[in-house]
């Protein structure tokens, strides 16, 4: 009798979802047995899951998952670098997806030990990285076709960008500086290897922060020496210091061409730094803000958490 029940439940499980196989960020092949209950530990991952049409299977998210709006209704399991395995397991997930560098690092092992399938999603700040990310998640949830459609849409967005770049009247490549603003006391700048700078390069804007790796404190004098033509900020960061006026009051900003001209692009952080399905459109927005507009340009698609 017991055996019969067990066989029946296995058959039922297989009926709901075939096992899918996927190569995760570590290059290991993971077998996904069920996508009945998905927990996503990263903002872009959540965005991609919804774009693939499996948003209704997502039962939990991290705090950085605020797009699309429907994701905000889901319970959160905390911040992706301060996770708690037990809180995730309480949602009874069958599949957990997250960035390879989620913290604490043991969390994935703890989940796997509890019998949950874990897929580590790669995260590289390049166009190829965005495609890889979409394809990995698509394979994990058995939506390879829809994944390819997303990749094609991404490529179309980029074609629009490239043709705009070819028609551009401004021939000079602008230098952009990404400021990570949190209050007026410290100037954090993101440089080589960071997502915002990867996005700027995709949009044809040169990186003005030479010698800065990832996001670091930069002296105001070095900001002046970098002479950016354009400043890129997160929309929320700009709000945190009181908008364009507050930005111009930061030490060093007024001594740059960008500060003088007030040439600033504000863009939502998941949109700019996610390198997901909207990467092409975000790059296009950056391009428009930098090359086709003067002054402050606030990029669209604001996601309200």
């Amino acid at each position: 009798m017991k055996r019969l029940l067990w066989a029946a439940s296995v058959a039922l499980g297989l009926g709901l979802a075939q096992p899918f196989t996927v190569k995760d960020a570590r290059g290991q092949t993971v077998t996904v047995r069920s996508i009945e209950r998905i927990v996503s530990l990263n903002g872009v991952t959540t965005e991609i899951l919804f774009a693939l049409g499996v948003g209704d299977r997502v039962v939990g998210r991290d705090t950085s998952s605020y797009y699309p709006a429907a994701a905000n209704k889901l319970p959160t399991v905390g911040y992706q670098f301060q996770l708690n395995a037990e809180g995730i397991l309480a949602l009874k997930p069958t599949l957990v997806l997250g960035r390879e560098d989620a913290k604490p690092p043991q969390v994935f092992d703890q989940l796997a030990a509890a019998g949950v399938t874990v897929v580590r999603v790669p995260d590289k700040p390049t166009l190829e990285g965005a495609k890889e990310k979409i394809r990995t998640i698509a394979a994990a949830v058995g939506q390879v076709e829809r994944g390819e459609a997303l990749v094609r849409a991404l490529e179309r967005d980029l074609l629009v960008l490239r043709s705009k770049q070819r028609q551009a009247t401004v021939k000079k490549t602008l230098k952009g500086l990404f400021l990570y603003l949190r209050g007026t006391q410290v100037t954090y700048v993101c440089g080589e290897g960071s997502n915002p700078v990867g996005m700027m390069e995709l949009a044809g804007i040169a990186n003005a922060a030479k010698g800065i790796k990832d996001c670091q404190q930069m002296t105001a004098e070095a900001v002046v020496a970098a002479q950016p033509d354009l400043i890129v900020v997160f929309t929320k960061g700009l709000e945190s210091i009181g908008g364009l006026e507050g930005l111009r009051k930061l030490p060093g900003v007024m001594q740059t061409p960008a500060g003088q001209a007030g040439r600033v692009v504000a863009i939502d952080d998941l949109y700019l730094g996610g390198f997901g399905p909207r990467a092409g459109r975000a790059a296009l927005e950056l391009f428009i803000g930098a090359y086709e507009r003067q002054g402050l340009y606030i990029a669209g698609e604001p996601a309200q958490p």
Binding site: T184, I212, T219, A222, V224, G242, G243, G246
Partner: protein, 341 residues
């Protein structure tokens, strides 16, 4: 009963004169060097002609930062000297009366519980830190006073207890913070002069000047206190008002410094000791001497902080401890016998 063996006045005068000359030299050095290269010999011409970018960098970035570093260094060192005298304890530092941790708690509360503060943050956050620092000190004072009298030892213990409580609350808030909030909290715990602008400095002027002027006038009662409270009383020091003034003015000095530059460590503890090793313990010279020395130390530490890893920068608190500690140890080894005086 200890007797004061004061070194000859000439030694104090020499030390004060040397420090008074060292401060302008440090100011010039710090104003002449930075991540943005300006040839030092060109500076007079640049200031005269007011023309190019170098002028803007000098006047609106480097100079406010240099002035802030000097002012914060002086305030912390002076408060440290006064508190060491009040507690008659060489380990007293400005953090002891709870200002620094209180300011950190005020800032942490603001950053983590009011994430949508927006434009308010620019001035409300330092204000919140300032208020948090003063309130914590007031609480320490209240805890330590009974029937209008304050025992210095109780004050010390109350300070330790409240520092621990504030530290625990900050820790609790940190555990709830996101990456972004953590980064802005780091500033309040390690300190830095990167946010210096002329308006920041102007905001410091009233409280800073009151604290400086008031603290410098405490030299005589502090000298009397060296002999002990009863002897100071017989020498005509009105003890309770004096203690209240010393603690309140120190809190004002440290609160002003922390609100503008976060918790820069080590200077307040070490500058007074350095002066004692250079000259001697007489508070009439120690107070101005420690202030001058603190200003120079802070300037040089900031110079290293903003040039060593340019274009990035180091937290200045890290530099003060990294440079200060070995130097301090060297001095200790040289003057082992004098320290115990």
């Amino acid at each position: 009963m200890t007797r004061l063996h004061l070194p000859p006045t000439s030694r104090y005068r020499r030390a004060l004169l040397a420090l008074a000359l060292a401060l302008p030299a440090a100011l010039l050095l710090a104003a002449g060097i930075g991540a943005y290269f300006i040839p030092p010999l060109e500076i007079p011409r640049i200031l005269w002609e007011k023309a190019d970018q170098a002028y803007a960098v000098l006047v609106s970035i480097r100079l406010p930062r240099v002035v802030l570093a000097a002012a914060v260094g002086a305030l912390l060192a002076l408060a440290g000297a006064v508190l060491q005298g009040l507690f008659r304890n060489p380990l007293a530092d400005p953090g002891l009366i709870g200002v620094t941790s209180g300011a950190g708690l005020g800032a942490a509360l603001f950053i983590i519980l009011l994430p949508g503060a927006g434009a308010l943050q620019a001035f409300a956050l330092p204000l919140m830190a300032f208020v948090g620092g003063l309130l914590t000190t007031l609480l320490v004072w209240r805890l330590a006073s009974s029937e209008g009298r304050v025992q210095v030892l109780t004050l010390l213990l109350a300070g330790i207890a409240l520092n621990a409580a504030a530290g625990a609350l900050i820790g609790l808030l940190i555990s709830r913070a996101t990456d972004e909030q953590l980064r802005s909290l780091t500033f309040w715990t390690l300190g830095g002069y990167g946010g210096a602008t002329w308006p920041t400095l102007l905001a410091m002027v009233p409280t800073g000047l009151v604290a400086l002027g008031g603290l410098l006038r405490l030299a005589r009662p502090l000298n009397a206190l060296v002999l002990g409270e009863r002897e100071a009383f017989h020498l005509g020091v009105n003890l309770e008002p004096f203690k209240r003034r010393a603690v309140a003015l120190s809190a004002l000095a440290v609160g002003t410094a922390v609100a503008a530059a976060g918790g820069v460590g080590f200077i307040g503890l070490v500058a007074p000791h350095l002066f004692r090793l250079l000259a001697g313990p007489d508070h009439r010279y120690l107070l101005p001497g420690a202030a001058l020395l603190g200003a120079s130390l802070s300037l040089l530490a900031d110079l290293v902080a903003r040039t060593a890893v340019a274009p990035a920068e180091l937290p200045v608190g890290v530099v003060t401890s990294l440079l200060g500690a070995p130097f301090f140890i060297w001095l200790l080894l040289r003057h082992k016998r004098e320290v115990a005086r």
